[in-house]
Symmetry: C2
């Protein structure tokens, strides 16, 4: 290899070592762990193919990433019809499409094309996204919340992740700027903070109260960071939670909004799982709705709401679509945000169109509505059944407890590891939960993500397990998990 650029002289922020960021208690562990697991199960996958019967399982079950369509979830027909027509608008001139596409998909595709200058889905759009699509999304938000929304506040993005990076780029000046993040936490935030050289200010979710949060503790953590010279700029909240699956109750949301207002923190609300709800006693309120219902407007609170086409009942991860709704920022700041958006010209138009569709799906009376409703409800009901089945299975296993998955796509069971297992893990230089997860994979073919990647209270061990495996595979998966766990525990019993 040529020698100019080596791993010793690249940008150290990329290396993401925990030592580079004082407050960063969640490192890029999850990413590293996932890559390690990936390497591991690629070998297993190969062995399954080349030497069938040589392993104690005959397939790998991926519970490590929220990627529904990779596990067989089918896309919503209406959405795909519209995308196909928008990608090849010549079809709209052909009679034959009437037997291939629903009438409302045809009408919607025509409407969307009419919003695009020159009907050109192959042209760069405005860097915030196509204005007509932003209008549709704003109307969808207004109808969801009962409060007005404005297309000028919408930035269409290639999924939620680039929105997070844009905000980090805007907010982080140096390693004395910090962002409050929940622990446990989906590591997008910690990874992005590390890449931008900022400080992670943790606040802990309380496992014993269903991963709830207490504002008084937030205040302590904020004061603590400030006393160390950190300028705390924003607070991240993920609702429903990832990896924790809880839904915040309204009272917690009110307190959180007031806290951010009082402390002049940007509220970064990750609301990508807003359609994934599996309980009837709670509902999802967007933070914008909560803030507005408290009488707070843009003069009171700087609020960024993130949404994505990757989750919900649609699960369109590969389309890379999403949006940020940005309120409460001055015109000069928004201009700088626009400048950041324009550095990559625009997000992909297929993803932009899909973002408008999820915010304005078929309505009762539309030709596609019955099929749409059936597809959507089947997916959500199945996810709900899977969440309950897996949660109750985990809770029935000795040495595991698991909070209810109220929303999102994950369970985050706590594994009570015996001291001997912890020592065995240390002996091979692995975190105990990584040791457990690798052994699980090796024995059962089940891939989960160790809790170390999300952060956890010291001395507690968890794994994140998606609820996405196909429903018919869950009983056998659960029994393999149970059998593994019992053997593991009896091997290492103190």
């Amino acid at each position: 290899m040529a020698t100019g650029v080596s791993v010793e002289n690249i940008n150290p922020k990329v290396i993401l070592g925990p030592s580079s960021i004082a407050e960063c208690i969640v490192t890029n562990a999850r990413r590293e762990i996932n890559r390690y697991l990936t390497f591991f199960f690629q070998h297993l996958q190969q062995q399954l193919q080349t030497q069938p019967g040589s392993l104690p399982f005959d397939e790998i079950v991926y519970c490590n990433i929220g990627n529904p369509q990779s596990l067989g979830q089918k896309p919503i027909t209406f959405f795909r019809e519209v995308l196909a027509l928008c990608n090849h608008p010549n079809l709209l001139e052909r009679e034959e499409i009437k037997s291939l596409f629903s009438t409302d998909a045809i009408a919607r595709a025509k409407k969307i094309l009419s919003m695009i200058p020159g009907r050109a889905t192959g042209a760069y759009s405005h860097s915030q996204g196509i204005k007509g699509l932003r209008d549709e999304i704003a109307a969808g938000i207004a109808s969801r919340d009962g409060f007005p929304a404005n297309a000028d506040d919408i930035f269409l993005t290639n999924g939620a992740s680039p929105g997070v990076h844009m905000m980090m780029q805007l907010l982080i000046r140096n390693n004395r700027d910090g962002i409050m993040c929940p622990i446990p936490q989906y590591s997008l935030y910690s990874a992005s903070l590390a890449l931008h050289g900022g400080a992670l200010v943790p606040y802990y979710l309380d496992e014993s109260s269903g991963w709830g949060l207490e504002v008084s503790k937030l205040k302590n953590q904020l004061e603590d960071a400030r006393s160390k010279g950190i300028t705390v700029r924003a607070l991240v909240v993920i609702n429903p939670g990832n990896p924790t699956g809880q839904i915040l109750d309204e009272q917690q949301q009110y307190e959180l909004v007031k806290f951010c207002k009082d402390e002049e923190l940007v509220l970064l609300a990750d609301e990508v799982y807003q359609e994934n709800i599996y309980v009837t006693n709670k509902k999802i309120n967007s933070f914008k709705k909560i803030a507005r219902s408290m009488g707070y407007n843009g003069d009171d609170l700087q609020l960024v709401s993130l949404h994505s086409v990757s989750k919900g009942y649609y699960g369109e991860c590969g389309k890379r679509g999403g949006y940020m709704e940005v309120t409460g920022f001055s015109t000069p700041v928004r201009e700088q945000l626009y400048k950041i958006a324009s550095v990559n010209l625009c997000s992909n138009i297929t993803g932009q169109i899909l973002a408008s569709l999820i915010m304005d799906p078929p309505k009762a009376g539309d030709a596609s509505y019955d099929l749409y409703e059936e597809e959507r409800d089947n997916i959500l009901k199945s996810l709900s059944r899977r969440a309950k089945a897996m949660e109750s299975a985990f809770n029935s296993i000795d040495g595991i407890t698991c909070n209810k998955t109220e929303g999102a796509m994950y369970l985050f069971p706590r594994i009570y590891l015996p001291q001997k297992a912890i020592e065995a893990a240390r002996a091979v230089n692995k975190a105990p939960d990584v040791f457990y997860a690798l052994r699980l994979l090796d024995t059962t073919g089940i891939v989960v993500t160790p809790g170390s990647g999300f952060g956890q209270v010291a001395g507690t061990w968890h794994v994140r397990c998606t609820i996405l495996p196909q429903e018919e595979k869950i009983p056998s998966m659960i029994s393999r998990f149970r059998e593994f766990h019992e053997e593991f525990m009896s091997q290492y019993r103190d």
Copy 2:
């Protein structure tokens, strides 16, 4: 507005002020100028609609951005057929598609779906992109160059811009790390360098020799930067040039490759216009082909080649597809690059598919080939005619000279502004070329980008003008331009 985050306390790298980066002689001027022009012509556009006849022109001609489909260029039918089928794979089960899609588009869509685990175009892919598509791209590169290419070296991206940002993120540690960039230069590089806090080390293209470059001068500029304490990490070359439209001759390419090898600089080769060639006496050689034909392999040179679906004869800007081919880096560095790629999970699958299609279009004998060839050749021949017509028109105007557009999509004529015009511009606090461009827009409706946005030798003034207006509009556009220029010159004659 709420007050926590204001333009005074955001990340100053975003503000991109020239003073923040010692060596940054090209600032974000082009972006600022484009935004100013955009504001200006949006007003004009509105006035055209609300008060027809009130302006000295009846339409706005956009020559400011390389966005072909926004100006009526039609997409390649085969590509869009494949995208439609991949976006809605259920269509492949229907008989009716035989009358709507070509047989090879159907076969290609099936082949592509077979490369995707679970045929799931809605799933996240590997963070470098779908392996099967990278295989196709590598095969396309190998067939283009006559030297092997490897799917593991390919990173699929949302257009070329994110590839550039990834490399900046990898290479730039602080403001003492620099990148050599051509002047004039498409401002993606200067903007990205500013955002990542690095130093721009300029090397000038020589207008008098058709925007050629001399390696001896490169060496001087490198030494100069080093003497100032800058660690120069990479050299950007754009071939064909943007905004300058030249094609490097082979000798220059050989010297450039040797220079980068000897100086241990990463060669960042922006080759997005590799299909846009309008002369017969030169051909495009990729820098990889040049390096390999000199006997240099990955042990000798760190090379990054950038490509995009946005340019060429396809012009699919809105799809946000592209790739980087990365050779000569050690495994640990590539792992860090992979980590950066994985921060956004993956690029959009529609763009990934399209990137594979442009590297493996229909071949002679395929059902779509005749139509494909006709569409492609019509576009390229028309672009070539437009380039020649506009170049010869500019050269026939007194006070303007224009190098030949050998490739890419732009002319970069030099405007010899009289001293009085320069003073008039200074009096209203504008750069003279901005003053000229705004006056042009105001008088004729023609939008060009002032040379200030790309950098130019001090005391020379240029505008960048795309060759993309529809062919039938070019004669009247040229005559309006000529008439404007003559009036402008007679108004300000010294």
